[in-house]
Symmetry: C2
Subunit: 251 residues, 2 copies
């Protein structure tokens, strides 16, 4: 199994970095190949712009997604983007590892997605969800957060973690065709004991040792939606995002 | 009314830019003060790092949110951050305007949030939601997207727009204390007619003309949650994110 870990943390002495180190150790120990894109160490440029293309289909005004498609067809991506696309296409397991900042990825990782999840490879021409360009690959979000788990219960202060991560797990990784695994979260990390931190590292190791056998989270297949893009009659919502409001007054 | 528009689009000839221009024209025409942070034009740096602080409380290892609090107390923010904090604190209405990229903001705008929504001003010490640092300010997401509106119906291909934007509208703007207004979206913008585009501009103008009277989206108050961070017994979920699963088999 080939693993790509896209890692976005500014501090090499962080607990998040310890999670990364453990994952590399465990996966390589099992004989897997592991590639790490350490975005901060690479000085990765997260800002999508016209400079990302060495030739343009529409030179008058930048239509970023259309130029991605053209660049893919004409080998016209900036080298830093092409290198990441190549890593992405080669992997069987994609891990996005980051501290949860404002219920999403740090900007440097958002820019990796903006620039590397390109039209023509990852999506486009009907490629999405179970026909997505990354179908057959597994994807895992691994994050550390100041939150307590109770805060991201369905009726918690922040609503369910899956709802907070919906744009990333469903709208990005799922849309791209990945089999998305349950996220791994290390909670309230500023305030944990050394023992709790060691426990998180061990729990992450256990997850990774069995990651090839894990059942992905439920996701609807394209064929479950009608021509109006809505779930066909009789199809029950199977995801947190698609659940329907409870009947009035029910609890 | 003082308005801060944080604008993140790489192309000055885009439709998104036309929305910006119309909003500035309408709001200034009504006598409001308008400040625009045009992140691409400013070359805004979206990458949070140790360089954001001129002095450190914990110099050994970067704990970004803790250093934000310290920097606020010691006037130790990098000048580009402090300038944006000052604009943010001064505004009555905050508009985030951007093309919807992977169901979130472009990286350059995520970095503005990461670096400018700082601990000690926007949140921290119990400040959140109705006690958040930005309470009393209105906030509006204005976006253009390749999506069709049917795709973001509650049972649509991508699930409801509010679910996709949950991390931003609830987890960021709402958490910070803003009164969050319904988002404004211009749909499937690559494929619209000039008449449809003119219609979006006019619809946006109408929204802005009455923006001070608009009812914000429902959001739970802190007191509705118990000490366990979950909705107290008897409190009905009032938001898309907090809705409970429908009874088995119900539709």
């Amino acid at each position: 199994m080939q693993t790509l870990i896209v890692y976005a943390h500014p501090e090499p002495r962080s607990f998040n970095r310890a999670l990364l180190d453990r994952s590399v150790q465990v996966l390589t120990g099992q004989g897997h190949e592991v590639v790490v894109s350490d975005l901060y160490a690479m000085g990765f440029n997260p800002v999508a712009s016209a400079a990302d293309f060495s030739e343009r289909r529409f030179p008058d005004a930048l239509q970023y997604d259309r130029e991605q498609k053209h660049a893919h067809e004409h080998q016209a991506f900036a080298p830093d983007i092409q290198a990441e696309i190549d890593k992405l296409r080669a992997c069987d397991l994609l891990i996005l590892q980051f501290p949860l900042w404002w219920f999403s990825v740090p900007a440097i990782l958002k820019g990796w997605i903006d620039r590397v999840f390109v039209n023509g490879v990852v999506y486009g021409k009907g490629r999405r969800f179970d026909t997505g360009g990354l179908r057959g690959k597994r994807a895992l979000v691994c994050t550390s957060t100041a939150c307590y788990p109770e805060m991201v219960a369905p009726d918690g202060l922040l609503a369910a973690l899956d709802i907070n991560l919906w744009h990333l797990q469903h709208g990005t990784l799922g849309y791209a065709g990945c089999d998305v695994l349950r996220p791994f979260a290390a909670w309230s990390i500023h305030y944990t004991t050394p023992e709790a931190r060691a426990g998180y590292l061990d729990a992450y190791e256990q997850r990774l040792r069995q990651i090839e056998q894990e059942e992905p989270m439920p996701m609807h297949r394209l064929e479950e939606f009608g021509a109006d893009w809505r779930l066909r009659p009789g199809i029950e919502p199977r995801t947190a995002g698609h659940r329907r409001p409870a009947a009035e007054g029910a609890r």
